[in-house]
């Protein structure tokens, strides 16, 4: 019951924060002067009347109410205005077509990063202060610090250009599950994975070394377990308590992806759309994507917190 109440409370708070951010964004956007973008052969008055008909000159609270109503009633997030490629297209539809590449790349990278990262972390912890540990820890430090776009450049230069193993940029088109498409995704997947592998390895190593020195490990050994048994049955399970929520959080935030990696490898994903929307001042796209990124961030935070309670029965959520 504690748990249920706690989750409800957290969800309520999250929705409140989300609402405030959306309102702030909306108001700040609507406070901007309305640009009438007249193209060759168009009449400024017609465009102004169009905008009036679309409610651009209504008072802001009325506009907000209508905006929310349209979203709730018909899932209508607005229409692209200034992004040339998507002019007069419903922003939601465009957004949905942009999701798969972003999600796929991030899912693939997590699928690589989680086992390798955790594996390296465990290995380093078991070989603590030996050369294996030092090698892993040093490389982890390097890989965590060096920005992801530097790997991306390296991957692009070495693997794609020099060794010609993969195409330099991602393929276009919508067949996401063909071999060619997968192959063209690999460079971006690798570039994303480097950082996360290092992150997981460092975190796992830190957690596991701490658990390995705790008293119950001594007890486990004294009652006759071998080192391997004690490590897998006692140490790993305890070390996983903070690691597992991290993995879950990662799988939520795969939705948001990385703007830079998407740009370098020309991934036709959400990040590119967001950038284009920002640069061309397409406010409906901007609102939708801002809401999306905010929501993903908030949701990941909540899921991580709540998953602690499910994974570790000792943690009682919201208990006083």
């Amino acid at each position: 019951m504690y748990m249920f109440k706690y989750i409800l409370k957290r969800l309520g708070l999250m929705m409140m924060t989300f609402g405030i951010i959306i309102i702030m964004c909306f108001v700040l956007i609507k406070l901007l002067p309305i640009v009438i973008d007249v193209q060759f052969g168009q009449d400024a008055d017609i465009i102004r009347n169009q905008l009036i008909a679309r409610g651009y000159y209504d008072p802001i609270p009325v506009q907000f109410f209508n905006y929310i109503r349209r979203i709730v009633v018909s899932g209508d997030w607005g229409i692209g205005v200034s992004l040339a490629e998507y002019r007069n297209m419903p922003v939601w539809d465009v957004f949905v077509t942009k999701l798969p590449p972003t999600v796929l790349i991030n899912v693939y990278s997590s699928l690589i990063a989680v086992p390798i990262g955790i594996g390296l972390g465990i290995f380093a912890a078991l070989k603590k202060n030996k050369w294996q540990d030092h090698t892993i820890s040093t490389s982890v430090m390097i890989f965590i610090s060096v920005p992801s776009f530097v790997y991306a450049f390296l991957v692009q230069y070495l693997l794609c250009f020099r060794l010609k193993m993969f195409p330099i940029t991602m393929r276009g088109g919508f067949e996401y599950f063909t071999w060619d498409m997968f192959k063209s995704m690999i460079p971006s997947v690798i570039s994303l994975a480097f950082g996360s592998i290092a992150g997981y390895a460092r975190f796992t190593r830190a957690e596991l070394t701490e658990v390995l020195t705790s008293e119950f490990m001594l007890l486990a050994r004294t009652k006759g377990l071998t080192k391997g048994q004690a490590t897998t049955r006692h140490a790993l399970r305890n070390a996983m308590v903070p690691i597992f929520p991290m993995i879950i959080g990662e799988f939520i935030s795969v939705l948001s992806g990385s703007l830079i990696i998407e740009k370098i490898f020309s991934v036709p994903g959400v990040g590119g759309l967001y950038l284009a929307a920002i640069n061309s001042k397409d406010y409906d796209f901007f609102m939708l994507l801002s809401a999306f990124y905010t929501f993903v961030g908030l949701a990941a935070g909540i899921v991580i917190d709540i998953s602690y309670g499910f994974i570790d029965p000792r943690i009682r959520m919201g208990a006083k």
């Binding site: 708070l13 924060t17 989300f18 405030i20 951010i21 702030m24 964004c25 700040l28 956007i29 406070l31 901007l32 430090m141 390097i142 965590i144 610090s145 060096v146 920005p147 776009f149 530097v150 450049f153 692009q156 230069y157 250009f161 330099i168 703007l259 830079i260 740009k263 370098i264 967001y274 950038l275 920002i278 640069n279 001042k281 901007f286 801002s290 990124y293 905010t294 961030g297 908030l298 935070g301």
Partner: protein, 532 residues
Amino acid sequence: MDLLTQESEWGRSNMKAKDYKISKEKFVFCSNEGRLHDQKLDTKPMSYLKDAFSRFKRNRASITAAIIIGILILFAIFVPIFSKYTVQYNDTYYRYISPKNKLFAELGIPFWDGTKGKEATAQDFYFYYSMGQETGKNAIVDQEYSIIHKIGLTGREVTYYKYQLDTYQAVGVVLMDLRTEQYQNIQNYQDEKGIQVIYPITIPEQRPTSRQDVNKVGNYWYATEEINGKTSIILDDDGNLIPIYKSYTGTDDYYSALRYEGEGYLYDYSTKNQTGYSVRVNYYEYYIYYHTYVLQDGITEPMFLFGTTNYGADILTSLASGARFSFALAIIVASINLFVGAIYGAIEGYYGGRLDLAMERIVDVLAAVPFMIVISLLKYHLENVPQAVILFIAFFITGWIGMAGRTRMQFYRFKNQEYVLAARTLGANDRRIMFKHIFPNAIGTLITSFVLVIPGMIFSETSLSYLGIINLNTGDMTSVGTLLASAQPYLVSYPHMIFFPAVFISLLMLSFNLFGNGLRDAFNPSLRGTED
């Protein structure tokens, strides 16, 4: 007093007490007058910071990192001051020039000497090879090459030429329009130095006309013909190039003693046009002339340590200027954030209760706003404000939250401790307790996070300017991100453009992280003595 010292001496000796024979005279009554005092401690008191520093010193990685940071900061401060180039400098002929350092160039090491290895078709090869034949300034290092046969895509054997191309000489000879006095000055310079800058003019009608050679037309001093839109060389019966120099008419106003000897011929060195003269100049020598005699800006020869960009700007100077801005931005913003965050967190943590709850909600909302939203909204609203200022504001809006959180945590930990209670009992007011008694406990974490947010901020700044959301490229300013972004399309053909900025940013992030981690361990008193 006496007695006390003696006692401590006994304590130190290894002899057992019973071995001592103490004569009776030594037993005297301790005086009841006067008072016994503790001895003053001989050891020096160890302050928290000193303790932390001594622990920090033992961490070799962090010390190295600190030194690297120092070097990078010096690089950012001094290179723009002492560099002969500026950020605005650009030379349209010397674009994509390879990095060159004088030492390697003179030793002939084929690395970092302004050359790059090439494997090209006969056409490309002869273009560069002929340059050296005309001027003696070899675009192909020592005119050395080797021939490789490869099976091409169509299955036919293709001949490739392998050679080291000197990118500084590869510009070769360019056609340039000079005013009368410039033309005369160069001739005077030629006579004075004995260096040939101007080469015989070619006959305009015989220059190649294909579109891809529009900018290289000055280099064709020999006869060519156009086959399928490509320029192809015409050789004479002996297999030599046929010069297309304009034969001597004496109307070229060329009086310099340096003349190019044809076989018994003299050539014209310029053709007159409306504004002056059209002349063929060797760009390498012209560059030296132009910078030492005309501009007198201290540049004695073209030499770009980190190469040049696609605009012909010097990467070394641009990178250092960008780095300078990044450092300044990060350090200023981090200081402001530290200040605001510390006060906010102190108030939250100290007063707690409802005030804390209310203030935490503000923090919650602000922390949940993605940085991209903040920066784009600011950009929309402050269109006339320089983008650097927008960056400052954006980093400030989101940056102080972390500092506030850390301070708040420390205040929660310490505000109910006995010594705080004691201070309050003694009548210290809130402000005194907050900043004199509790705040020093937060200094360690705050310094650590101060150091650790700097690379984060520089990374964000680089990313934003890389993505083009923030454009810092205004005249005398540039940023590392802009350099990276402008270099990315040339990653394959000119990797040096991306190499130096990327190495810089990686080194910076790595050393700041190492340094920050070292500080964190140093400020953690629970690690005292663990490294011994």
